[in-house]
């Protein structure tokens, strides 16, 4: 084999909801250390594709590989244990628990100590300390003991990212991480993403093209459940078909 094994790979993945095909014969590779963006119009199936990769939904046919191993039948939580972490397009948080505990629970789960029934005080302390350190990095430490629901939506987006990072993932899937974040705060999110360690492979769904071109080295364009184009940022930026479909330029109309 000449090519390196991709960290995550989809082979011929299909999925339909009733008559609507949301993923149609998708072949996709996320390389180690990638900064890869997935773009496409609303309803193109981008979130569905992330759900397929993480196992939140199962493909009707096709296979998903994680580090070269077939994980098509592996449930979501088991894939997480194998190094895949995601954020959600809409905040999916434990709203009544504190910011610190949201991250601490992820730490505990990563260490495999979350199933302890008795004791565990020192594990809880260690996990809380590690979680707090992460909150400091994301400038959330002032809100550590506040319930998540008391934070602004934008700060809650950062909590989503903090939880994902607490899992120390090899693969990070970011589903519109800045969606709903006020423009004044979105730099917080993107500075954070830009500062991610190189060994994390990142796939990001994002609508803001400026941000996509700033961040991504590889871009895939998804339209109606199909991968329409794939290439480097420069190739995609120059592609007339992408402009036509995605940017809505009807040059030949």
């Amino acid at each position: 084999m000449d090519q390196p094994v991709p960290v995550i790979e989809a082979r011929g993945v299909n999925r339909s909801f009733g008559a609507i095909e949301v993923a149609s014969n998708i072949n996709f590779r996320l390389e180690r250390g990638a900064r890869h963006a997935l773009i496409g119009p609303n309803g193109a199936g981008k979130t569905t594709f992330i759900n397929l990769l993480t196992g939140r939904i199962r493909p009707s046919s096709g296979q998903i590989f994680l580090h070269g191993q077939d994980v098509t039948r592996l449930p979501f939580d088991r894939r997480v244990k194998r190094g895949i972490a995601r954020t959600f397009q809409l905040n999916t948080l434990l709203r009544n628990l504190s910011v610190l505990e949201n991250v601490q629970l992820a730490e505990l789960e990563r260490h495999g100590s979350a199933s302890r029934l008795i004791g565990g005080a020192h594990l809880q302390r260690q996990a809380a300390e590690a979680a707090y350190a992460l909150l400091e990095e994301l400038r959330l430490a002032d809100h550590a003991n506040a319930p998540v629901k008391s934070l602004s939506y934008g700060r809650q987006r950062l909590v989503e990212i903090a939880i994902a990072l607490a899992l120390k993932p090899a693969i990070l899937l970011l589903d519109e991480p800045a969606a709903g974040v006020p423009p004044t705060d979105s730099h917080l999110v993107f500075d954070m993403i830009a500062a991610l360690p190189d060994d994390i492979s990142v796939l990001i769904i994002e609508h803001d093209m400026k941000l996509v071109f700033r961040f991504a080295k590889q871009i895939s364009v998804l339209v109606q459940g199909k991968i329409l184009r794939e290439g480097t940022a420069e190739q995609i930026a120059a592609d007339p078909m992408v402009k036509d479909v995605y940017l809505g330029h009807r040059a030949h109309a």
């Binding site: 088991r78 628990l97 505990e101 505990l108 789960e109 979350a114 199933s115 400091e136 430490a141």
Partner: protein, 347 residues
């Protein structure tokens, strides 16, 4: 405050629920007070302790794991019949009865949980009811073994540890129930503050989020369900042993409903809802039933509607809200006072 101090303070605050507050000893002080000063209420007291234990077991599933089930009597009844049948057939040691009841109820919890926990909402509610109904009917049909509609009689309960005999005044029975409840409380308290218990709270808050951090949601709910069933079985066994009688009503829909009402009244998911709701319910019932039992149900209905509409956290939820409001007012006043001092110092 240095950064280090801020971190320690935040971590301590998160871990503070692990620390035992003096208030948590209140139920035990009250129970011992009843034993020494109100001996005429020991019989009612033992029944209350058993229902507290039963409601406490339901709190694990309903309050912590967020599994809303209306058939918890299935496990209580399983425990009652297990301990009862053992005592009828010459295995009258109470502690062996408790252990056997816990195991039988846990197995029932495991088998039924694997099936019914796949569902949620209304389907889960109905399936939980179905399990209790099936057992009710089975116990009714197996007349030769269970005594059917006439109930199970003829138990011989041996002294506890072969030494403490069950007396006519119910002193031993009360202390026995109290000791079992205390041990169960210690265990449940450990569980709900453990990493496992907190992950249950997380699952109740948002199962998707928990799956996304790698929590095996279904398995953890099942473990909680089995633990809850085992403790309900112990409560049923206690009831069989101190009453020396088991009737079909241990599987009844009414009992499933009553324990749910007790817990919701006290406040689910707070560990102490059972300690508030069950005594309140049973003491009120005892008092009102002397007058007009229909009247009692009427007021209970009104109270329940009020709790569901205005106090979702039950009585303890209201207490918490009041404490929080007072606390906020106080800190608010302190902050205003501090600002005043500052501005007057500045001027």
């Amino acid at each position: 405050m240095s950064l280090q101090d801020a971190r320690n303070a935040a971590v301590e605050k998160l871990l503070s629920r692990r620390r035992l507050s003096p208030l948590e000893l209140l139920p035990w002080v009250i129970a011992l007070g009843v034993y020494f000063f109100l001996p005429q209420y020991l019989t009612l007291g033992s029944q209350i302790l058993i229902m507290v234990l039963f409601a406490l077991s339901l709190d694990i599933t309903l309050g912590y794991a967020g599994v809303i089930i209306l058939g918890h009597a299935a496990f209580y009844g399983m425990g009652a019949y297990t301990a009862g049948l053992l005592a009828v057939h010459g295995w009258g040691d109470p502690l062996i009865g408790l252990v056997a009841a816990a195991i039988a109820a846990a197995i029932l919890g495991l088998v039924s949980g694997i099936v019914i926990l796949r569902t949620t909402g209304l389907a889960l509610l109905m399936l939980g009811m179905a399990v209790a109904l099936i057992l009710y009917e089975a116990a009714n049909r197996l007349h030769d073994i269970t005594g059917g509609f006439d109930g199970l009689r003829g138990m011989t309960i041996q002294p506890i540890f072969g030494y403490f005999d069950f007396d006519f005044f119910g002193k031993t029975a009360f202390l026995y129930c109290l000791a079992v409840l205390f041990l169960a409380w210690l265990f449940v308290r450990q569980v709900v503050i453990s990493p496992f218990g907190r992950s249950l709270v997380g699952i109740q808050e948002n199962a998707d989020r928990m799956a996304a951090i790698g929590t095996p949601v279904a398995r953890r709910k099942l473990i909680a369900f089995v633990l809850s069933a085992a403790i309900a079985g112990i409560a049923g066994a206690l009831s069989a042993q101190i009453n020396q009688f088991v009737s079909l009503s241990v599987f009844s829909f009414e009992l499933s409903g009553t324990v749910l009402v007790m817990l919701v009244l006290g406040g689910a998911g707070r560990l102490y809802g059972a300690f508030v709701g069950a005594p309140l319910y049973m003491i009120a019932q005892d008092q009102f039933a002397k007058g007009d039992p229909v009247y009692w149900l009427f007021w209970l209905g009104i109270l329940l509607i009020a709790v569901v509409l205005f106090a979702r956290g039950g009585i303890l939820g209201v207490v918490d809200a009041v404490r929080e409001t007072i606390g906020r007012r106080l800190t608010g006043r302190v902050a205003v006072a501090a600002a005043d001092t500052k501005s007057s110092a500045g001027s």
